[in-house]
Amino acid sequence: MSAETVFYLMAGFAAVSALLCITQRNIIASALWLVSTMFSLAGIYVLLNAQFIAAIQVLVYAGAVMVLFLFVIMLLNVGRGQSDLRGAPVRFVAVLIGGALLAQLFFLSRVTPGGMAVLAGSAAGAGSPMGAFPAGQTAASAPVAQGVVGAIAEPLFRAYLVPFEITSILLLAAAVGAVVLAKRKL
């Protein structure tokens, strides 16, 4: 099978799982369909030359975050009983808004990097999209020279070092905040 066939298989699986995720009445089934969406996205990341991102997608998203969701669902014992889908008028408006958003995004997704350079050039007269990210090498060429993890570690610990350090403060604040919120009495 070619890479394109695998991509379209995974893409179809991801889209169908996402649809089932928002239509299932049972919350646990909904959460498990979301896990399957995330797994197929991890497969797509491998096809797009992002092997490290695929690994942490499975570890962090499909693993840690979804286990947290399932833990809370089972702790609260919710999801049985009647459907929580909204009524017909809201459903109609939701489909309307979704259709409009999809049309806009489809139009945007046809813009290629070359076309983006033309747009940026005509608007400001300066700067190619290459200047948007301070990382010269592309995802396809960098892992050959530096290895899969080395290729992403190089921009992470050079150009993005300060944001990376701030992330640790964010995680500490989130951990303390979650404990404070969830605890009955401090």
Partner: protein
């Protein structure tokens, strides 16, 4: 390369996430739909990283960190609200309604 198809899939997944937020009333499902939207955006970042440089993959790394923090704090808030109202249905959570 697969840049165009990946962006199309990203658009479809994001729209499904928005539709889920509008359609469901369960707070936990709403959070899962937000995670779905974050995943869709991550996909377009990874797709653009193929041509515009590896900075895109670094941004995905940050988005995942923020999403994990958001899930932890958000679920703690849902837990606190459930203790107060015995429900996670949004129609029962109307304390700030005038």
């Amino acid at each position: 390369m697969l840049l165009g198809p990946a962006l199309l899939l990203s658009a479809v997944l994001f729209t499904i996430g928005v539709a889920g937020v509008l359609l469901r009333r369960n707070a936990i499902v709403l959070f899962m739909c937000v995670e779905l939207m974050l995943n869709a955006v991550n996909l377009s970042f990874v797709a653009f990283a193929q041509v515009l440089g590896l900075g895109g993959q670094v941004i995905v790394f940050f988005v995942m960190t923020v999403a994990a923090a958001e899930a932890a704090v958000g679920l703690a808030i849902i837990l606190a609200v459930f203790r107060h109202t015995r429900s996670v249905d949004l129609k029962n959570i109307n304390l700030l309604q005038g």
